[in-house]
Structures are given as C-alpha cells and as structure tokens.
Symmetry: C2
Amino acid sequence: MSKILEILKEVKESGIKNIYKKNIENVLGALTKTTDFWKMIDYSNIPVPYAAKIIEILKNKGIVEIKNDEIILTPLGLEIIKEEGVSAIKKELRCEACQGRTIPFYKDIELYRTFVELQKDRPKAIQDFDQGSVTPETTIARVLFIDSKGDLEGKNIIVMGAEDDLTGLAIALTRKFKKLLIIDIDERLIEFDNKIIKELGIENVEAKVWDLRNPYPEDMLGQFDVFITDPPETFIAFKAFIERGIATIKDEGGSGYFGLTLRDSSIFRWKKFQKELLDIGCVITDIIQDFNDYMNWDYHEETKAQKVAPVNKKPQDIWYRSAWYRIEVLPGFKRVNEQIPQEIFDKLYLDEEGSTT
Amino acid sequence: MSKILEILKEVKESGIKNIYKKNIENVLGALTKTTDFWKMIDYSNIPVPYAAKIIEILKNKGIVEIKNDEIILTPLGLEIIKEEGVSAIKKELRCEACQGRTIPFYKDIELYRTFVELQKDRPKAIQDFDQGSVTPETTIARVLFIDSKGDLEGKNIIVMGAEDDLTGLAIALTRKFKKLLIIDIDERLIEFDNKIIKELGIENVEAKVWDLRNPYPEDMLGQFDVFITDPPETFIAFKAFIERGIATIKDEGGSGYFGLTLRDSSIFRWKKFQKELLDIGCVITDIIQDFNDYMNWDYHEETKAQKVAPVNKKPQDIWYRSAWYRIEVLPGFKRVNEQIPQEIFDKLYLDEEGSTT
C-alpha cells in the first residue's frame, strides 16, 4: 500500500469519515510551500479539525516535526512526497490583477474608493452571529461579478444575511438596481446601512432587521430577480437558506449567489450541497475557488479552529477563503417558506467539519 | 403578461422546448451591446439555432430589424428593454490580464513562446472530427490551471481526444508529469505530436491513435491521476466520454478537466450533465465561464450555425467560447468501459441544440 493510503487509513481509524486521499496529498503538498499551520490550511483546502488530526498523525509517524510553532517536513516526509508524486496547490499562479476572481475590483475604482471610505466605521464582526467579514476588494468584486452577469441593472435584489460583508451596502452605492432589500439579524449592521443610505439619499433601498428562522411575509415571496446570501455550512442550514432565497425569486432564470468553503466543509458535503441544488430546481453556472477572502476576526482565539490547531501561533495573514457560486433557478422551481425550527438553528453554525465560528 | 414572457411563449410555440426567460433577456441585452449576430451569441450564451429563432420572432414583432446583415433594436425594442429592466451580460468587466480565466497564460511565458512557435504548422481543423481549436492562450492557461490545482507535477495524465487543441502537446512541453498518454482519432495530430516529442527528446510520453468508441485495454484502466477531454455535447456522448475518463482514474481524488458550452447546449442540458456527474461519483470543484476561446474554423460556412443564422455575415472575431470544468472523483467511483455503439456515435456531434460541427 502507498504511504499516502496508509496515512489515510490511520486518519479514518481515528474517527474522521469524510476524508479522502486528496486531503492527505494536499496537506503534504502545502507543507512544501509553508511551515505555517494557517497558510497550510489555505493551500490545502481542508476543514481545520481534519488538518489538525492529519498533522498529529504525520508527527507520530515522523513525517513532520513541530518546532517553535512551525510545521516542518522531515527527510522521511520529503522522501514520501517525491516517491508518491505529491504536488502542491500553486496559489502563486493566480492572476494578480483580479486575484483569481475573473473580475477585478478596480474595474469600478470610484465605487471601490467610496466603499472603502464609508466602511471604515463598520460594526465589528462578532461571534454570536458567525460573522467574519470579507475584504473590501472581495465585496466590490462580488458586485461587479453580479453586474457582469446582467444581474444588477434594473433588477430586484435581496441580500439575505451576511451583511457583515456589506455586500448590500456596496450594491446600494451603485444605484443601478430597480429595488434592493437588505435583511440581517444584526441591528448594528442594518442601522449602519440605513444611516449611509439616508445620508446619500439612495432611493429604492430598504434595510431591515430580520431573523431568517422566520418565514418571509407574503410581500417578499416571488418578488426578486436575484438573491445573495452566505449560508452556514451544515447541510440542513444550507438547504434552509437556499430554499428561502429561491422563495423570493419571481421568475425562471432568476439567479442566486453565495459562498461555500472547503475549510468548514468537506468535499463530500459539497457533493450533497450540489445534489440538493439540482434537486430543488437549480443549475450551477459558476464556481470560482478562493473568490472570497476573509479578514482575520477578533474572536479567532475563541474559535474551535484555534483550539484544535497544533500550534499556538495565530494567523499572520488571510488564510480563510471561500468559493463563489452562482446558480440559476429553472422553470418549475418551488417556493419553500416554512419556519426553521430553533433546534436546527442551534446546530447551524458548528459541527464536526466546521470550526471557525 | 410581460413582453418578455410573451416572446418566450411564442418561441416555445415554434417548437423549441429547452428555452427560458433568461435566454430572451440575454439576447435583448446583447443587442444593446452589438448589432453583430455572432457577437450577440457570445454575449447571450445561447445555442445558435435558438438565437436564430428568437431573432426571427423579434423581427416579426417589430422589436428588431435587420439591415445590411446587422441586427438593430427598434424604438419598440429599446422601450421593452427599459420597461422590463433587461440588463446585458457585461464581458467588458472581465479581467484583461487573465482574460477571466483566473490564471494568466503569461505566468509561464517560456512555455507559451515555445508552444506558439511549435504549433505554427499544426494540422488544420476538419469538420469530420468536430474539430475547432482553442487559442494558444487558452491551451497554455489550461496547463497552468491544471498545475495550479496540484494536478500536473509527478502525475499520470491522459488527454482523451480533442488534441486539435494541442493540450497534450503543451503538457508534454512542461516535462513536469510522471507519465503522459495522448490519444486521438486523428492520426495527423498524433503524428504531429510524436514528431515534436521525438525531436525534443521528451520522455515518458506516448501519443497514439485511438477511437474512443472502443473500450480501453486493461493497461489503460485505473492508471491515471488526471484526465482531460472535450466531450461532444449530447447527453449520451457526454456520459460516455466522462465515464471513459473516470475508468482511467487510479484513486479517489483523481480529477477530470473538460469544456462545456452554453452555445451548443441549453442550460437544461447543463443540469442533466451536472446531475450525471454527481450520480457517477464525482463532485464539481470549478466552473469558469468563457475560459476556452475558439479560433474561427475554416469550415464555418458549412456548419448548421451559419445556415440557420439570420445574416450572411461571417464571424469577424472570436464568438465561440466554453466553460472549463474541473471535477474530482470521490471514493466508491466505478470504472465503466464498454463499447460505445456506432449508432450513438453517429448522433454524437449534432442535435437540436448543437450547430457548430
């Protein structure tokens, strides 16, 4: 049996089910690029608790050693990498101009500058609501990506939660939509948005506090062309968020945008997500990996991620990214709009694969 | 009923089933950007025969007129666009550096230059084999994309057909793989590759003529880490090509790369493709729209596309593009390796949605 498959077997025996050969290869490959645990996560696209377990096993097998909080491949590790043809993911090949997003944020430099200026006093990300904001470049690239698909000008748009990224505010600043509704559970964000919208006199925007557990009122159903959200990554929560989004869509061909990561979900769960999207009447039109760059959040030390990490060193740079999905809603889609039970919501933000909340 | 839905109804009544509201909007949106039929296809992501039918109906309704082979929106057309909030797809927002591919071809400028020089005498695309080559920038960006995912260095790679794009040759030039097998039905291409491989003394590459209808010999099954192909876009052919690719994969986590277009397939067929990929044990990790740019082919005038077009004007520029898919093969996948019946193969290259072959 190959050394990689041996390691895989041991990781599985330790109780991790949703793991496959590629995960082991990606971790080993990443360690040829960096000795930093958090950068290794960035390079290997794997849930943090799984990465921590793999490192533990690699250490026990003498494949890596940990010195001064750095993870270093031993001569044995380097030999395995060579023998088994392990290759690292090469982020250095990403386009510098658009940072691998296909659309560069600077295509509307005025919008970017205005946004950067306005967001300076944004409310801080808090752990209560699973917050962690993307960079301003990410937010603006999202807006331009949506515009590039013909999903902004003249459209009715709803931004459902995750307004800690201020995507709703950035869309508001374009003034290109027909109608814009921003909802979030965090009243600090809604107040922040409303203050700016009022000061700038932007019309046809509403920002309101809303708890996504509650069904939408009749006047929000079937009203929108586009929904944008950032679902928590447990299956049940994902399904609930996306179904709520689809319930707001007016016609076939309406579209949805959201982020999904491989750092709080395994590839196995991605497959379940994708199957669910098709089952509820959607088609996937775009998946851009590493589109969403997350700034480090103040509560990092309190997260499961830091607790399970094999090092005490905190992230020095951006390490958490997610892919950007675009879906379209096809004819025959259904609008599901039921109460999401509290007990499901309690488990929304954390499970075996998730660790950053 | 909205004007767009009225047009949609009429298009459906003319016998086109796989069409939805977004198609009509995209065609109208595209006409705000261009009066050229082929550029309009590029901007609207729609099968050519469907676009031709929509234009015919728009003309009958006085929404467009055709003058000197240009398609022009009438005042009525402009009014509908404004009233219904129709927005164009905005290709001008694409990154100029990587041309929207996330990885720019110039990240390995030596490889690009060598390839451009070597491919000058490439065999011409011929209609017999549904050929039409991508630009050299596309080919090199594919190779770098594959490398960026950790799927090149030290890997066993098979390029299955579509060597008119010379993707196999470009991979050979990197000398980074462990083993490379290039197969194609067109012996001109295989001879072309073999000549260069021999002259440059590149090792561990084999290029051989192979008819994909035939099952693979035992020594090709379960041997590879990565497969690359360009399946014809009928459902039955797509399934056969992808299954053949998966049959070559050694282990879970192996990956596949291929192009899919919305210019020879409807979004409805994409949904079937995506469902099939999940059903046969894969997960989709990347979908980059407009990654593959196709050069115009000499036999364009002989294609159904030109015959159904409402104008005589030929394409002036690149108009045919496809999305680039990456999939991963998950644990439990099956190797299917049966003869593909001739009668299925006869229908491979043309159906109601396809038109460019």
